[in-house]
Symmetry: C2
Subunit: 190 residues, 2 copies
């Protein structure tokens, strides 16, 4: 299962076998069943997760008990509550799998240690964070663009695999539209 | 004016005088008058900007010609269209000062060079991007939380200085509320 992690690192940096062995020794493997939380609101967050199988979602629950999806994470993606992780404040999010899933877990402490020990690992994580930042920028632009059809078309274009893996109800929550609006968008493509 | 830049780096890393001289030699100083664009929609983006004075805003213009503010940048903050910069696609944003402003400019090419040459500079920018990511995560949560009062209170708490520097109309655009709704929030604090 660590082949996926190595391929993931080697998209950006080159690693010797012994370097990869050393890096991967800081990860632990975890299987999750549906509804098994990785993070719950109010908790302290110490870890970051690399998705091997399945799809995870991070979301908030508002004061009316309504769920709002912040992010989906498919295989080869990272997920955590980064606000809670980096600022060491209690989590404002829940993270759990859409169906069953498998992840590799690394603690913030070990990630920082690896970044400190190996310049190229620091380079890798800077580049990954840049891409995460860009993804979030697009997420904000999607949210402030008031046209639901544009948001929907952009999501299909950006992440086609999501539509196979995630129930329509969660896609609607991510897009900030009702289930009925989403059905209309499906039935009447541009 | 480069004292602010040095202090900014030294919040995270320690630099010798010669290291800082070398780093700062990659920045150029730029004064901006109101409405002078740093970035316009459709342009290629090659640079990132560190704010010395004033306040910059990045925003999109939607198909109804309505402005939506993505981000404000006060002194000691960075701003660019990172999607356009990192993915080398045309910008979807405009960036200009709220009033006059001063920035330091660094090209992506020079930033990558510095990160490659000096591990601690790479460390610095990884940490800064982490914080930028966290800021955007909070921005998304603010947008998907439907309660305008919560969004308003969170912004006041997070960035009190904004309310002195930025016209109410731009604050309303950032929060995604009308000017009238914002006035009601001002007049009736919790």
């Amino acid at each position: 299962m660590k082949d996926l992690l190595r391929a993931h690192f080697e998209k950006i940096i080159t690693l010797t076998d012994s370097e990869f062995e050393y890096i991967s020794s800081h990860f632990t493997h975890k299987k999750l069943i549906k509804h098994q939380f990785l993070i719950q609101e109010g908790e302290t967050v110490k870890n970051e997760f690399f998705v091997l199988k399945g799809c995870l979602k991070s979301y908030m629950i508002d004061s009316d008990n309504k769920m709002h999806v912040l992010q989906f994470a498919l295989p080869d993606w990272w997920i955590s509550d980064y606000h809670a992780l980096y600022k060491q404040v209690p989590s404002s999010l829940y993270i759990d799998p859409v169906e069953s899933a498998e992840v590799l877990v690394i603690s913030l402490e070990d990630k920082e240690k690896l970044c400190n020990e190996l310049h190229k690992v620091e380079h890798f994580f800077r580049k990954k964070t840049n891409l995460g930042y860009v993804g979030l920028q697009q997420r904000v632009l999607g949210l402030i663009n008031t046209d639901a059809r544009d948001r929907y078309e952009q999501l299909i274009k950006q992440y086609p695999a999501l539509f196979q893996m995630v129930p329509k109800q969660l896609i609607a929550s991510y897009l900030g539209v009702t289930r009925e609006t989403l059905s209309r968008l499906y039935k009447n493509p541009k």
